[in-house]
């Protein structure tokens, strides 16, 4: 037990491809390599030379599951670069678009990726039809995902690579009949979201390590605007976020890691709930009050609970917005191209803070792109957590059990390798295989 290696190729039940290596010598964890093996597709390079109108749809292709986050963040950066102030209705439609994403994406992670660990099954598709609880959870997963999908389709045209949001506004507005249908469906699945919160509230999985949390502090918890907040009380305007990040080359990984002011940190639902839970929808705060008492929390498994609460919030706020707004078609605003401009978009993607910095020339062509995705920001924390988890488990668990615990832990972060493996303006550390 004192000398062993753990090697897991192709970690499962998470988005994209990653491998893991852990080396233990004389009872001490000597090294952890969480290697994102997703091949880069070089979107930062590819977007250079593209007209700004086609850039958002291109960047949407970075990630299937959170394509809407890339789409909206790219649009925000381009709008800021070209002097567009979104109309109140466009802003509201963006929020609804994010809610559709959050419901579907979180439900996928919670039911399909995390829940099998909780239930002790390999896959949700193995859940027993003759077990009332398992049967319910399987069908709840379908219903909740479908509801998120419907909301996205209503507002944004599709749940994946949505066609309606564009630079300067939305190409269509939701129709009243569609709104009524989606509102009814969201209300129907709301109790399922409450059940889901309970399921994760009761889960006793725990792993905690002292770290820093970073998230946008949006006033209505709509994932879109506000300043960047940290658990140490630092408040940074969106535009300055990158100045506080330090890019760390990880030679064995196809993604770079990031430190916040020299320290590892965590972004995502757990960070958002730790920092901003008082801005959740009042109905959510009321009905999830018991679960909310878990926060602030350092237990990374509470990232699951936080996501479940965000599903409820997304339903509650979306229903309110849809029921209280009358949408009217409005023209898409034209970009002002008097000079070269740079814009920064920061939003809270399902997995955490997403940063886009784009420079657009006078001809409307994207000249420079710099993107920081959530999983890259969490990567160093994930490695440090694994090292501590293995060290703590050496005396208690055998190797297969440790491997299972590691995967469970990584899954709790809900990493997204497709996103992570794109963005490097890496200052390669000398002597690394990538060093120039």
């Amino acid at each position: 037990m004192h000398n062993f290696d753990i090697t897991i190729e192709n970690l499962t039940k998470m988005e994209g491809h990653a491998d893991l290596e852990v080396k233990v010598r004389e009872g001490v964890v000597e090294g952890v390599k969480f290697a994102i093996t997703e091949n880069q597709r070089f979107y930062e390079q590819a977007v250079r030379g593209q007209p700004l109108t086609s850039a958002p749809q291109l960047m949407s292709r970075i990630c299937g599951t959170c394509s809407i986050a890339h789409l909206l963040c790219c649009i925000e950066a381009l709008e800021k670069a070209t002097g567009i102030q979104p109309t109140p209705q466009a802003l509201l439609l963006k929020k609804l678009t994010m809610y559709g994403l959050m419901i579907r994406d979180h439900a996928l992670h919670l039911y399909f990726f995390a829940l099998p660990d909780l239930v002790g099954k390999d896959s949700i598709l193995d859940f027993r039809e003759d077990d009332p609880q398992e049967h319910k959870l399987l069908h709840d997963s379908f219903d909740l995902k479908r509801a998120g999908n419907l909301l996205s389709t209503l507002v944004a045209g599709k749940a994946v690579h949505a066609p309606y949001p564009t630079v300067g506004g939305f190409l269509r507005v939701p129709d009243p009949a569609g709104i009524a249908k989606v509102v009814a469906e969201l209300k129907r699945v709301r109790p399922l979201a409450l059940d889901l919160i309970q399921v994760f509230q009761k889960w006793d999985a725990r792993f905690a390590r002292d770290t820093e949390y970073v998230a946008l502090s949006t006033q209505d918890f709509s994932f879109l605007d506000g300043d960047v907040m940290t658990s140490k009380g630092v408040c940074i305007p969106e535009e300055a976020y990158l100045d506080h990040l330090i890019n760390v080359a990880i030679p064995y990984s196809q993604a770079a890691g990031f430190e916040f002011e020299g320290e590892e940190f965590v972004v995502g639902a757990l960070a958002r709930l730790n920092l901003n839970r008082e801005h959740l929808h009042p109905q959510t705060r009321k009905d999830a009050a018991a679960a909310l008492r878990a926060f602030p929390s350092q237990n990374i498994f509470h990232n699951n609970l936080a996501q479940a609460i965000e599903v409820l919030h997304s339903i509650d706020h979306a229903v309110e917005l849809l029921e209280t707004t009358s949408f009217t078609p409005e023209p898409v605003q034209k970009p002002v191209l008097t000079k070269e401009g740079t814009g920064v978009g920061v939003i809270e993607a399902p997995r955490g803070t997403l940063y886009y910095r784009l420079t657009v020339g006078r001809n409307g062509i994207v000249k420079k792109a710099n993107i920081v995705v959530p999983t890259a920001q969490n990567q160093i924390s994930i490695e440090k957590d694994i090292a501590l988890l293995v060290q703590n488990s050496l005396e208690k668990l055998d190797k297969p059990a440790i491997e299972r615990e590691i995967e469970k832990l990584i899954r709790a972060y809900d990493p997204c390798m497709s996103c992570a493996s794109h963005f490097l303006k890496v200052k390669w550390v000398k002597g690394s295989p990538l060093g120039a």
Partner: protein
């Protein structure tokens, strides 16, 4: 459930069916006898493969069969065969559209098994054989034979003889097969001429007597051509003479079963495999059914033969512990329990979902499709490989592998080749898998961008170019789209399920 090679086209060979695929029963021949046997063995959960070319079955050439039970209005041979194949596939039989060319006995300690080699180079390992290769039609080499098939030129007297009631017909062949056809044709017409297409006849004594007894005309000599533009009109002999008939029946015979008999040392009588009442040949574990096992050449009898051979194969394999662990995997005995028949569990279609360089948007669409379709699929489909859905993944023996994403590295190329080996059907999904783009955008980068990304390409095992899946391994079908559409995916899935005989409520 294994995937039929019918959907992989005529490929078989080096990767369609793995070298030395292991089966419990290999059935040689894809006609009514072989397919009936497959229905019984597959339904009894014996891992079954049918090796044969349905186009070569005599039933395929029967224009219309009027004497088969349950079809008062008659049934066309090709239709009956299509239904038979779908029926066998429904229970999980694999149909390899290839020709078995040799069978050999291999001993494995106490046990024995057979290795069947095919014309396209596959080797199939089985614990028992059913030879149902019939008396395949051997092309006579006579000019215009192909052109006039079904247009006055036929291969099956009992099927198509009634078309020529009281009309003059010719039967081509110099052996017992021709004599037997002639005797059978007496039911429809008295005006019958057997033309040897050879210098002399080679009837056995029994048939020689029959031919004489019924006044059937015989004509020795070679046939040069069949005459007729749109319809057969006459037989032209090499001596220049032209003999008009209303119809002609080919009865040249062939040695289909004989090759196997020679390989395995099976006992033959009058060019027919000798079988006992269990349809077992002179070698234990080798059964024969249909025309190659003799007696009348009727679909009904051959179906009965296939049934009898299959039932005895099931008994044979179950009663002796040969090679396979029957207790494992829910192999139920194909016997009717005293309290009544119990439905045997149908094998599920094994589907794998794989992803390479892409944004996995089609994976997301797939997980959304599950919302509405999983309940309908779950009894017919299992998903043993999908990293997004499970940790314990098994890619062996997949019926369908869906592959998303482009191939961007050596590792990915190795992996997709491994998937290809394990999957009967490989379907590329989404734009990156189908066209390479947008993941392949780096292929088109200009010089400065290429230089910028070069260190990364070098540091990891990137391929020089990003490739669509079909440039790395053969692809059977595709679902394009960025992401794939639900409708496009369902259409392709339905198509392949239907070819596997699953028409359920998808």
């Amino acid at each position: 459930m294994q995937w039929p090679s019918s959907v992989t086209g005529e490929r078989g060979g080096s990767w369609g069916i793995d070298l030395m695929d292991q089966y419990e029963v290999a059935i040689l021949g894809c006609g009514p006898a072989g397919l009936t046997a497959a229905i019984f063995t597959a339904r009894a959960n014996l891992k079954t493969i049918v090796i044969g070319l349905p186009d070569r079955s005599q039933a395929k050439l029967a224009m219309h069969i009027e004497n088969y039970f349950g079809f008062p209005e008659g049934v066309d041979g090709p239709v009956l065969l299509e239904k038979g194949m779908a029926h066998a596939q429904k229970f999980g039989a694999v149909i390899l559209k290839d020709e078995a060319v040799a069978a050999t006995l291999v001993r494995e300690g106490e046990k024995h098994a057979f290795v069947v080699k095919t014309a396209k180079g596959s080797a199939v390992h089985a614990m028992a054989l059913i030879i149902a290769t019939g008396i395949p039609i051997r092309s006579s080499g006579i000019a215009n034979e192909d052109k006039l098939v079904g247009r006055g030129l036929h291969y099956c007297v009992s099927c198509d003889g009634p078309l020529y009631t009281n009309k003059p017909i010719a039967i081509i062949g110099n052996g017992d097969h021709a004599a037997e056809d002639a005797v059978e044709a007496l039911s429809y017409t008295k005006d019958i001429t057997i033309i040897a297409n050879a210098p002399a006849f080679a009837f056995s004594e029994t048939y020689q007597q029959e031919v004489q007894k019924w006044g059937i005309k015989t004509l020795a000599g070679k046939v040069a051509a069949f005459q007729g533009e749109k319809w057969f009109e006459a037989v032209q002999m090499t001596d220049g003479s032209s003999l008009p008939f209303k119809g002609v029946f080919m009865a040249c015979g062939a040695a289909g079963a004989l090759d196997f008999a020679a390989n395995l040392g099976l006992q033959l009588k009058d060019n027919i495999l000798v079988v006992d009442e269990n349809n077992m040949t002179s070698m234990e574990g080798v059964f024969a059914a249909g025309n190659c096992a003799g007696r009348c050449r009727e679909v009904a009898k051959n179906v009965g033969d296939g049934c009898n051979a299959a039932v005895n194969v099931i008994k044979f394999l179950r009663s002796r512990e040969l090679y396979l662990d029957y207790a494992k995997g829910g192999h139920a005995l194909a016997v009717v329990p005293p309290e009544g028949p119990a439905p045997l569990p149908a094998k599920k279609v094994r589907v794998g979902w794989f992803s390479f360089s892409c944004c996995e948007d089609s994976t997301i669409v797939f997980t959304e499709i599950l919302n509405d379709y999983w309940d309908r699929w779950k009894d017919s489909i299992e998903i043993p490989y999908a990293r997004a859905l499970r940790s314990q993944n098994d890619m062996t023996n997949l019926d369908i592998a869906f592959v998303e994403g482009a191939i961007a590295s050596e590792r990915a190329a190795r992996e997709v080749k491994e998937i290809r080996k394990n999957a009967r059907i490989l379907i590329a999904v989404g734009a990156c898998a189908v066209t390479g783009m947008p993941s392949a955008q780096r292929n088109q980068f200009d010089e400065p961008k290429q230089r910028e990304i070069l260190p990364i390409l070098r540091a990891f095992d990137y391929s020089k170019k990003v490739q669509p899946v079909h440039e790395v391994v053969p692809v059977d079908d595709q679902v394009p789209g960025c992401p794939m559409t639900e409708a496009g995916f369902l259409a392709v899935l339905r198509k392949h399920l239907a070819e596997a005989g699953i028409h359920a409520q998808f």
